[in-house]
Symmetry: C2
């Protein structure tokens, strides 16, 4: 594997600045750093998962764009590339979700992320098999429900995230602390995190780990179209919009298709008309085929923070060295009034 | 003044835990803590501004709901209550903004916050009079324009904020670092900050101060309806919605009026119909008169984090003691790999 965490093992000077983390999330997954790569459909296959896990984070396969047999092959490919922990993300709204879950159990995948849908359906069976289960939530009610269903952790994903987002549109900065207050299991923050500043901010809000999507999509290793990656790199602060709010709110980079959807919604278009404009396979078109006008360019608001393609190991280095720098800066803003 | 920063002057035990801050924002305003109270229309009069400034933050009068002569009286009332720095917020979209600006200059107000509108119009004249000028922005382009116009600092206000928000709907966690990267003047973060966790998160993102609205509206001292304050305290994570997106996006707590506006927008209603539903004086109705069904209950997403009415001094105590606690927690998550 070309980029497998080399900097952390060989580079002595770098290693000195890399802190060692211990949170309930690093303990739960058995990983070195509380950085989870989002299981993005069409993006997160073994090409991305292996280097992330090798770097000390948690790589997560995005089963949302895989058939059960493709998932089978991807799990095998990850295992051929790394012996470190990894996960699989299964969107429960997929009609063949039971089959994808079955593949995870058959192959003894140790960590499963479920998103959308009801966590009570598969969690008991997964837990019985000794699998660690994490559910993605976008509001407090869902988090409480997931905890009751027996999951081991939740991802609290804010409005800033790419692709499908929660209807309530709660920003990461208010969502994370409220979820932390509402549940006792560990919380992983997601939505808008693309550098060390967001990483520290998320942990300050009470999270014990972060899930990062868009930043990892724009890596050298990610197996998606270079046109899609470049669209993320070029994106500025206001580049993304939420389309199909009344159907399934989805954050994408603004393009001709997104404009058409927004105009239709503003005219009061209902579900059938929106579905007609949307057609089929639009995310794949943008992400895999690089059709940037015709496709849905799913990406988070953090695209504005992504200014260059990087290797996975450089992304880790930025987050980890940056953590220490940001902490030192925060410390430097205050002086204690009394000696301790 | 009943609550004027008493805890910080008399309470020895408390004082010990309160850190002393130094950022470009505390220096710019001549204040002790980088906590600015948002100049909320109908909420921010001298009853709130005096205790905030006395506690060591920056109280800001909300001129958006005042006539020039009312503003005159409010500035006098603030000066009767405190000799500490305070500011005035003037929304530049108000037709009589020039008159409000004139009052600020005539009374030699030292700090003026301008919001909406073009910062190039009044900034040169205000700066000539030696007034510190801060402009509120909701995207990077506006921030760059404000810096070019000569303002001393910007407030970067995220989508989570209450009342009028930016059309681009950029969340605080992605907006703040991008504005910090784009300008060299100090940045004050706003939108979604109601406790020490959000305070630390905002500073981690690169801000040198925070502007807090909703949390200060739900204080004992704020001179607004107890029904409005209680609506904030009762609000949960998903309580707020953005209405009149096509007109002037405004975040409010969901009620009968908000539902009606949302339904109309979903049907494709255009400006005249929305204006008819909206009518006149709806924010005042909710905030001053406590008409919670008929009024527009302007509030930020951070309402979900506000669980009780507090005095201004308790809000400061929570933020400041909490800062040290959160920093210690962040430090505790890592250990340096090598001795330094």
């Amino acid at each position: 594997m070309r980029h497998s965490g080399r900097a952390f093992r060989s580079g002595r000077e770098m290693t000195k600045k890399i802190p060692k983390f211990k949170t309930r999330v690093t303990e739960l997954f058995g990983i070195e750093y509380p950085i989870i790569q989002g299981g993005m459909s069409w993006v997160a296959d073994h090409h991305l998962v292996v280097p992330v896990s090798e770097a000390g984070g948690l790589g997560v396969l995005g089963a949302g764009s895989m058939s059960p047999s493709q998932l089978h092959g991807e799990v095998a490919a990850v295992r051929a590339g790394t012996s470190k922990p990894f996960g699989v993300n299964v969107p429960l709204t997929r009609s063949d979700a039971p089959k994808l879950i079955r593949v995870c159990m058959d192959l003894e995948v140790k960590i499963v992320f479920t998103s959308a849908g009801n966590p009570a359906v598969f969690t008991p069976e997964l837990k019985e098999k000794g699998i660690t289960v994490v559910h993605v939530v976008s509001n407090v009610r869902q988090a409480v429900r997931a905890e009751r269903a027996g999951v081991d952790a939740v991802v609290a994903e804010g409005f800033e995230a790419g692709g499908h987002i929660g209807r309530e549109e709660i920003g990461t900065i208010t969502l994370v602390p409220q979820v932390v207050d509402a549940v006792s299991i560990p919380v992983i923050a997601a939505g808008g995190i693309a550098d060390a500043r967001g990483f520290v901010a998320a942990l300050a809000l009470g999270a014990e780990g972060v899930q990062v999507g868009t930043r990892f999509a724009a890596t050298v290793e990610a197996n998606c179209s270079i046109y899609y990656k470049n669209a993320i790199v070029r994106a500025e602060d206001a580049a993304t919009v939420v389309v199909t709010r009344s159907l399934l709110p989805t954050r994408v980079i603004r393009n001709a298709l997104a404009e058409e959807l927004l105009r239709a919604e503003q005219r009061g278009a209902q579900e059938p008309q929106l579905r007609e404009i949307l057609g089929e396979g639009r995310a794949r078109m943008a992400i895999v085929d690089g059709e940037l006008a015709e496709g849905l360019i799913e990406a988070g608001q953090s695209a504005g923070l992504v200014k260059s393609l990087r290797t996975v190991e450089l992304v880790f280095q930025d987050f980890l060295e940056g953590y220490v720098k940001v902490l030192n800066r925060l410390q430097g803003l205050v002086e204690r009034r009394s000696a301790r």
